[in-house]
């Protein structure tokens, strides 16, 4: 600490309960880096950015939301482990001010780490909406830490917050009841080397027992037993209740609760979560989503295609003949196809998905479908990874970290792989939707859901154990902000532009080269064992293999590979091709994410199983359609 009492801050971490607006705040401070949405568990890994704090560059870390430091799910463990790594100079606890009482419980628990803290009372507008008035100066005096009021979504209070960070102090913690303090000091004395975070470790040991250090086993057990017998309660519950009582005392001292306003957001759930009306509304919402994507994609493609065709023609004429010209033309065709086929469907889809997320509909869907999910042995929280899977499989797999139960995580991740991501949606919309009709595309989606449900039913019977069931906070609806919708769409689109576009260009150029040299036939022949039984032309081989890199490559390359473009396929062939693309080997990025989250052996199994399934289903489609 410097002479004027200001701290030199190198690393600030944002901690708080789920959906308190940490990521919104993070984005407001460091620029748009983190995906923000209105459901608990949007952030599942530590995200880093830079900001200027006290005139120095500092790292800002956005951590997953956590209700406590007990580590109930993987995302919460990420937060706890980061805090215990000692990397943080200052903790900014981001609080949903409309839930201040509950949030102060976390403050008191985090305070045991002994690190300097700034309390950020975010969503002050929400608190006012609920009729809660907070005397934040009094709260600052009681806790002995800086308290700043913010509305991060509108950028209010951010300057004050950044200025307060160097003045962070450890919280002045109120003492526990005498018997709890006695138990804690017993454990603290038994800890041979006090080390960092001594208070936190003592509280953790008292709460849940099971010390790693065997020498502590006996004293910890004794402290737990004595406290538990004295109160007739579990020590973990006692500690939680103590912190709750302290938090409520603080809350009552600094907040007054008046009359809440009731608007559309409070009334919407009466319809959207209604046990009867809620379901048709859900179907309507999903049909609206896909309908809008299909319609706007069709319109945009109709506008773009002729334009790009003209340019392609001119470039072709300018380049002339020869293998080099063929390669360059191939590269251009890949880029152009990226624009013409992919963007028209991807942009509207990502935008609408963002809208669903930001309004707060996702957890509602989880609520509505919990009953059905139990039929396949999962529960409603798994719906969130599935819905995210329609955007991209990688974040879907990461989001399984919000599931408390290991078995639910495993099954949900394996199933999420089969949810058609935006890349596969492009294939479905651009091939089946465009050439066979929207109804056929819709049937493919419904069939896909059915297959996932069936596989889920089988999987949950193969993998034993049943999770504790659904515990899902349903946050209030929020007015989506256009800036956030566009930011999120762009952030996700960037993945396509940065990764897929070069891939498209290179693959397309290589394909053109292979054709110019007469190698394409050989490559296609190598995959004939797949394409022949499916009744697909030999030229579909390379596009299917390239789909392993990215799913939308399959369609783009198909258009390049076939003489006369994709229209050269029969409708039945289009459907067989699409069914196979929907299920076979997840793309490389997905395989990587699966490997990290589930381990490589399980990932291998998922890859084999999905490919087998894709083959069987595509064969089935061929037989049914008589192709």
């Amino acid at each position: 600490m410097s002479a004027d009492g200001l701290r030199v801050v190198r690393r600030v971490v944002l901690v708080g309960q789920p959906n308190a607006g940490k990521s919104t705040l993070f984005n407001a401070i460091v620029g748009y880096r983190a995906v923000v949405a209105n459901f608990p568990g949007t952030t599942v890994e530590a995200l880093r950015g830079q900001a200027s704090i006290g005139g120095l560059r500092a790292e800002v870390v956005d951590l997953p939301g956590t209700y406590s430091l007990l580590g109930g799910d993987v995302a919460e463990r990420v937060t706890r482990d980061f805090l215990l790594s000692g990397e943080a100079d200052v903790i900014v606890q981001v609080v949903d001010s409309s839930l201040l009482g509950r949030s102060l419980e976390l403050t008191l628990e985090v305070a045991e780490l002994g690190l300097p803290i700034v309390l950020c009372l975010n969503m002050m507008d929400e608190a006012e909406h609920k009729g809660i008035r907070i005397d934040w100066e009094k709260l600052a005096a009681l806790l002995g830490v800086p308290v700043v009021a913010t509305v991060a979504s509108r950028g209010q209070g951010l300057v004050d917050l950044l200025a307060a960070i160097p003045q962070a102090r450890p919280v002045r913690r109120p003492p526990y009841t005498a018997d709890v303090e006695r138990a804690l000091s017993q454990i603290r004395e038994a800890q041979s080397s006090t080390g960092r975070f001594g208070d936190h470790r003592a509280a953790q040991l008292l709460s849940s027992g099971a010390p790693v250090d065997l020498a502590l086993k006996e004293p910890v057990e004794r402290a737990r037993r004595e406290l538990g017998e004295g109160r007739g309660e579990d020590p973990g519950v006692i500690l939680s209740d103590e912190r709750h009582a302290q938090a409520m005392r603080l809350f009552e001292a600094v907040a007054t609760v008046g009359k809440a306003r009731v608007g559309w957001r409070e009334k919407a759930d009466d319809l959207l979560m209604h046990p009867v009306i809620g379901y048709p509304l859900l179907v309507l919402a999903l049909m609206g989503l896909f309908g809008a994507v299909f319609w706007s994609g069709d319109v945009l493609e109709g506008l773009l295609s002729p334009l790009l065709d003209t340019v392609s023609g001119q470039i072709g004429a300018a380049l002339g003949a020869g293998p080099l010209a063929a390669v360059l033309r191939g590269a251009w065709d890949g880029l152009a196809a990226g624009v013409a086929i992919v963007l028209p469907y991807l942009i509207p889809f990502l935008f609408l998905l963002a809208l669903f997320e930001d309004v707060g509909y996702m957890p509602r869907v989880g609520f509505l479908l919990d009953g059905l999910m139990h039929r396949i042995g999962l529960h409603g929280k798994s719906v969130i990874p599935f819905l995210l899977g329609y955007g991209c499989t990688v974040p879907a797999i990461l989001s399984t970290r919000i599931l408390e139960d290991e078995r639910d995580r495993l099954v949900t991740a394996a199933l999420a792989v089969m949810v058609p991501c935006a890349g596969r949606t492009i294939v479905v919309m651009g091939l089946v939707g465009r050439y066979v009709g929207p109804l056929a595309a819709l049937l493919l989606y419904l069939g896909n859901v059915l297959v996932i449900a069936l596989v889920g039913w089988v999987l949950t019977r193969l993998v034993p154990g049943e999770g504790p069931g659904l515990i899902l906070e349903i946050p209030p609806y929020r007015q989506p902000r256009l800036q956030n919708l566009l930011g999120k769409t762009w952030l996700r689109l960037k993945g396509f532009v940065v990764l897929a576009w070069p891939l498209l260009a290179v693959s397309s150029a290589l394909l053109a080269l292979a054709e110019a040299l007469g190698w394409a036939g050989g490559l296609n022949l190598g995959v004939r064992f797949l394409t022949w039984p499916l009744g697909l032309p030999s030229e579909t081989g390379v596009p299917l293999v390239l789909g392993i890199l990215r799913k939308e490559l399959s369609l783009v390359m198909l258009d390049e590979a076939l003489v006369g473009g994709v229209a050269a396929l029969t409708q039945a062939q289009m459907i067989v091709f699409t069914v196979f693309v929907l299920f076979y080997v997840p793309c490389l990025a997905t395989v990587g994410a699966l490997g990290r989250e589930l381990g490589w052996r399980r990932t291998g199994l998922v890859v084999l199983a999905t490919t087998g399934l894709g083959l069987v289903l595509a064969l089935l489609a061929r037989v049914v359609l008589g192709a």
Binding site: H244, P363, R375, G380, G469
Partner: protein
């Protein structure tokens, strides 16, 4: 109450405000054995039916109002 899972679940519920003596209001019920939506301390939580049932058993001893089903 199971010692292992039950303990963690209990603490989790407490963090969401579901603790003995809390005022709880039932808002909605999902179909097909779906969850119960409860409002506690001004925030809404969906609880799986099986879980909600178990908590009620726990909770009845501890002066929860009986109308939260």
């Amino acid at each position: 109450m199971a010692i292992n899972g039950g303990h963690g679940v209990l603490l989790r519920l407490r963090r969401l405000g579901l603790r003995p003596g809390a005022q709880v209001r039932a808002v909605a019920t999902g179909r097909w054995g779906g969850p119960v939506l409860v409002e506690v301390d001004g925030c809404r939580v969906a609880l799986g039916r099986g879980l909600a049932r178990r908590i009620l058993v726990q909770v009845n001893e501890d002066s929860f109002r009986p109308d939260e089903r």
